[in-house]
Symmetry: C2
Subunit: 361 residues, 2 copies
């Protein structure tokens, strides 16, 4: 069947996820393994979220709400948008795929930063797009060059904000300048998967831009701060015309019922996530200090992960850490042979990481 | 943005799901509403499935297993296939969409029965395919005409077995004859969503066909018999080369962790599902008898739903039933103006339906 499948499928290296804890335990025969590789929230869900899931379990014999009714209403109220400005996805990565499916065909172009979140590239290549990659400058987006890379064939520009793996963000001024003079029929896909971790005061208010720009979609996720990576739920916000286009190609029941119930419970559980954020900020500072002490260079991060420069090859150091039961992301896959990316874990996990880093370097 | 989106998106009427119970309660101000519209299992999950979900809730902060490792191994063992012959989907409808994405481009053709499950048509049209529809003959597939409809441009033939909405099935002889002389590079997509309900002895053993046919994929789901419609999980089985193609375009974490845990628990909970099946067979016979007594014609069904001929317009009778708190499927949407489709519910639900049918006709 390979001969009759679309050729573009084979032009892509499949996405390589962080190794699951269970798999590492099985393969290396280890009992204690921690995972700092996939930018997950290190804490299990709050009691309120567990309770919401338990309640909703009684209705899983029914198909989910296709429109995520209650969650949609809650988010619309909180974010002061119309309820028809939302689309929900099986993770926000599904919304990337849907946007590509709606707008990108063979020979079209998409513009993205290099390195950036891999799914932008993979989804676009499968659709047959030509990728215009614009290298980061000192780990920041080079928005001038990205705008210059937009041609008459460009359908989407992806802005990860903050982006993975660099962890840096775009400010209000950055984005405003980028939009000035940009064609109004190029989709600007602003991926705010790490939105809830950003503490910078000049971070762009992307939702305000939706009032004036029909070509912007902003996506967020419950996988990171809200700790629902395993349940798969993210959402996109845009002008209702754009939402309608994406809704037409969405599968009718793409978001499962327990994800909907858990996400709604997360929104209500403000005290819990305030504590999670406080802990994360403290842990980040602790890690910064300790890394400096160990003579590691790193990028200041506005996410829940840190990109660390390594003297050894990233592949080597990752393997050494893996043997000690610590899964980090070897950035060689992104072409960064002397970088690892580590998720900010719990206090105990971070301590284990720092001890191991001291050992192996 | 409509001007730059792909034109094919607007050629499709979006899928209209059965109305959710909550929505009908809200809209009509009703307290008691039953849903017999979406071919769901009427029972909440078994205690063992609830327990498995509760346990897995503790790991939802982590991304799911991308390969559904444990479920894959369990199914491979049970079905005597290699573990690399499986692909898992966010519902088996996702696998329909993936197959179309992998094989169908603008101007290609797909062959399907009319009426048939709507997603075959919708997914194919969005991809720009020309649809060759072959009308059912007395509610059965006309496989001779379907084979004759296969041209050099045909990429996929969809066989719903049993199919929705007719509820009839294809036998071993039917499928063997269909495959004889069919081009080996046309994908034959055998959708067995209702597999677990089929009691006919001459039902095709589709998995045996995988040994000799690299162009067949068989899909099944946990949404129907197993009662996990709200959790979204289905699977496909094929030659590993075909699986590899589809896996390349699958999102890496398309199946959530709780669905994986619940599905595994379903497979183990054999006694529960034996009882569910027994109950469903009894209820089907009860419904047949009562419908005959009420002078309704119906099709013998090998699924958990029954297609019923109505003297009144289907739209009218559906509305009358809705006012009484019973959601059924008005088949006008499929162009069948004098048919409703009802899911076999619990004993109490079926009684309520029969009473209501007596009232409104």
């Amino acid at each position: 069947m390979k001969k009759v499948a679309k050729k573009t499928i084979f032009s892509v290296k499949p996405y390589l996820p962080g190794k699951p804890i269970e798999e590492v335990k099985r393969e290396l025969g280890l009992k204690n393994v921690i995972k700092l590789a996939s930018n997950e929230n290190p804490f299990p869900p709050s009691p309120k979220v567990c309770e919401a899931i338990k309640r909703a379990t009684q209705i899983i014999n029914r198909y989910p709400q296709g429109d995520c009714y209650y969650l949609r209403e809650a988010l619309a109220k909180r974010l002061k948008l119309d309820s028809n400005q939302f689309i929900f996805g099986n993770g926000s990565d599904e919304l990337i795929v849907l946007a590509v499916k709606a707008f990108v065909g063979e020979g079209d172009e998409v513009v993205l930063a290099k390195p950036s979140f891999l799914i932008y590239d993979i989804a676009s290549r499968i659709a047959g797009a030509k990728i215009k990659e614009v290298p980061l400058q000192g780990f920041h987006y080079d928005l001038k060059k990205m705008k210059a890379a937009v041609s008459s064939k460009t359908k989407i520009v992806f802005l990860g904000n903050p982006d993975n793996p660099a962890g840096t963000y775009l400010s209000e001024v950055d984005v405003q300048n980028f939009l000035k003079g940009l064609r109004k029929d190029v989709l600007v896909f602003i991926d705010e998967a790490y939105f809830e971790f950003v503490t910078a005061k000049d971070y762009v208010n992307s939702l305000a831009l939706l009032k004036t720009h029909k070509n912007i979609i902003v996506t967020r996720t419950f996988s990171k701060m809200y700790g629902l990576a395993g349940l798969r739920i993210g959402y996109g916000m845009a002008n209702k015309e754009l939402i309608d286009i994406l809704d037409r190609i969405r599968e009718p029941f793409n978001v499962n019922s327990l994800a909907q119930a858990a996400a709604l419970a997360c929104l209500k559980d403000k005290a819990h996530f305030k504590a999670v954020l406080k802990d994360y900020i403290e842990q980040k500072q602790t890690l910064y200090k300790a890394l400096t002490k160990l003579s590691f260079e790193y990028e200041e991060s506005f996410t829940n992960f840190i990109l660390i420069k390594t003297k050894q090859k990233a592949a080597d150091i990752s393997k050494l850490l893996l043997k000690k039961g610590i899964i980090v992301r070897d950035m060689s896959v992104w072409g960064m042979n002397h970088y690892i990316r580590v998720t900010i874990g719990t206090k105990q996990e971070n301590k284990k990481l720092l001890n191991a880093l001291e050992d192996v370097t």
